[in-house]
């Protein structure tokens, strides 16, 4: 059973066609990684899923329902959320206000406070900093906050755009463990990552995106063994 199905997708910005003929599946409870070099269209793919790019052709269905016509601001209502790569927090709001923005449409105060508590349990450092303005956080704390905000809607499928970009190497491992934990708790994940080695170690299956097209698709474990992948993506 697939939670997300993308079929024959063409998309881009304005007149610039970036993604062509893309088909991608994410299994219910699965952890799918998309790896590829800079400029392959990875971010564009996630932005297209989230209705932030122009879609020319193809379908995107979430739980069998077409979501290409749903506006970006309403996608978090149906159990989907997105952690963008850069500028994933509001720097002039406090940590608490950022998390509150995460569940801006939720009416029930109990739900908000229980989710807030869960985020604080998962990332205790955020609770320590809850009154601090988010612009003053360190890179790792920012990423935790960005993931925390996305969790405030309790999504079934989380799109993650290079969550470890720009982080100190010592923090990368920890963040990947946090992300993998999200998956073992039952959330489906679609991760876009340049750090292919890490991504393939934690993900179940992976797609290789190059020049806006899918080049390869296999189980992560197989890709990790493939010589071509080792040559192109895993060697330093």
């Amino acid at each position: 059973m697939n939670i997300l199905e993308i079929r024959d997708l063409d998309s881009g910005y304005g007149k610039a066609l970036i993604l062509q003929d893309l088909s991608i599946d994410v299994k219910e409870g699965g952890f799918t990684a998309i790896i590829g070099p800079n400029g392959a269209g990875k971010t564009t793919l996630l932005r297209t899923i989230f209705s932030l790019c122009d879609l020319y052709k193809g379908t995107i269905s979430f739980r069998g329902k077409d979501i290409t016509r749903i506006k970006a601001e309403n996608l978090s209502d149906i159990g989907l959320n997105y952690v963008p790569q850069e500028e994933s927090i509001f720097p002039s709001l406090t940590v608490f206000e950022n998390l509150r923005m995460g569940s801006v449409k939720e009416k029930s105060r109990e739900k908000i406070s229980s989710r807030l508590e869960r985020v604080y349990n998962r990332f205790p450092v955020l609770e320590k900093r809850h009154g601090q303005s988010a612009g003053t956080l360190s890179g790792g704390e920012r990423q935790m906050l960005a993931v925390g905000c996305a969790l405030m809607t309790d999504p079934d499928l989380l799109l993650l755009d290079e969550p470890t970009a720009g982080l100190a190497p010592t923090l990368v491992e920890g963040l990947f463990q946090d992300i993998a934990k999200l998956n073992t708790e039952g959330r489906s994940l679609l991760l876009v990552e340049q750090n292919a080695k890490m991504a393939l170690q934690y993900a179940h299956e992976a797609y290789i995106l190059e020049g806006g097209r899918i080049k390869q698709h296999d189980d992560a474990a197989n890709l990790l063994k493939s010589e071509e992948i080792i040559k192109h993506y895993l060697s330093v």
Binding site: L52, A72, E73, L75, S76, P84, S88, I89, F90, E97
Partner: protein, 319 residues
């Protein structure tokens, strides 16, 4: 912004310096009361929507004339006329946003295109007002009151009420921005509109509320300008660059800066009027703006250092 300076003769005493200082304090505060709220409104509009709306000056005019319509034609008390004018001007702002600017913003045109369009919108508003009321100046029908000395100040009761309204409304807006959900939404949208969409914020609604607040403040400013001077179709256009001077002095997207900038600009203008030449008081606001742009473009509260080198090093610098 022609102040009716007939309340008493200036420099009437031998002790001219004392009276000049007193004038500066009184007129400075009054000018501040006319500038603070519209500059705060313009600041919020720019902060959230990220473009300079040059029709804002004419929205100030519209606010003054809507109050004039209530006050003169329907014989409504000026206080109630002000409230009705706030509501109607807010409605006008929302209408303009929905009809003109929304589609352009969704088409992702640049801030400069929106600026040019807002000029056209301003031209339309100004000339509709001109057709409706003609070029001659008007005054509100307000009960006559006597000016009184209050410590170093010299105000009529109306003027005291104006200054109090101005300060209270400004504090109210600050509290709203800091502590309410709408304030948080406005700050979030200002920080990053596309992330706001991802978080599920309807930024279109935030824009609408921002325009309601900005145009409400414009209406108060227009009525206050009319209370102190006269009401004519070009008043807002004249005030527009002064409002921008207030914003630039305080830092263009900083609401506290907008009010402090209005205070500084108001006193600079009145000091010019007293000691240099009354016709050049507006020019002094512009010069203050150029000076700030020259040495510290982010305003007096900006993080960058003062760049004195712009004064001297411009011919030598390669960049």
């Amino acid at each position: 912004m022609n102040r009716g300076r007939k309340t008493r003769p200036r420099h009437s005493s031998q002790d001219g310096v004392y009276f000049a200082m007193e004038d500066l304090l009184s007129y400075g505060l009054l000018t501040f009361a006319t500038l603070a709220l519209p500059s705060l409104g313009l600041c919020l509009a720019i902060k959230v929507t990220k473009y300079f709306n040059l029709a804002y000056g004419d929205i100030v005019t519209a606010g003054a004339f809507l109050a004039l319509l209530m006050n003169l034609s329907f014989k409504i008390n000026i206080g109630i006329a002000l409230l009705i004018s706030i509501a109607l001007t807010a409605l006008l702002g929302v209408f303009l946003h929905k009809v003109v600017f929304k589609a352009l913003m969704e088409a992702k045109v640049g801030p400069l295109t929106l600026l040019v369009v807002s000029l056209g919108v301003g031209l339309v508003i100004r000339n509709v007002v001109l057709i409706g009321w003609g070029p001659q100046p008007y005054q509100f029908n307000t009960p006559l009151t006597r000016a009184k000395h209050l410590g170093p100040f010299f105000f009529t009761p109306n003027q005291i009420v104006m200054i109090l309204i101005c300060i209270l409304v400004a504090i109210g807006i600050f509290l709203m921005l800091r502590y309410t959900q709408l304030g948080r939404l406005m700050r979030a949208t200002s920080d990053n509109p596309s992330l706001s969409l991802i978080r599920g914020i309807s930024i279109e609604k935030v824009y609408t509320y921002t325009w309601i607040i900005a145009c409400g403040l414009a209406a108060i400013g227009g009525v206050f300008m009319g209370m102190l001077g006269t009401i004519k179709p070009g008043m807002g256009e004249e005030a527009l660059v002064t409002l921008f001077a207030c914003l630039i002095v305080g830092g263009i997207e900083n609401p506290y800066g907008a009010v402090v900038g209005a205070l500084i600009t108001a006193f600079a203008m009145e000091a010019t009027a007293i000691w240099i030449s009354p016709p050049y008081k507006v020019v002094s606001a512009y010069l203050l703006m150029f000076f700030i742009l020259l040495i510290k473009p982010s305003g007096i509260f900006g993080r960058e250092k003062i760049q004195w080198k712009y004064f001297l090093g411009f011919l030598r610098s390669r960049q």
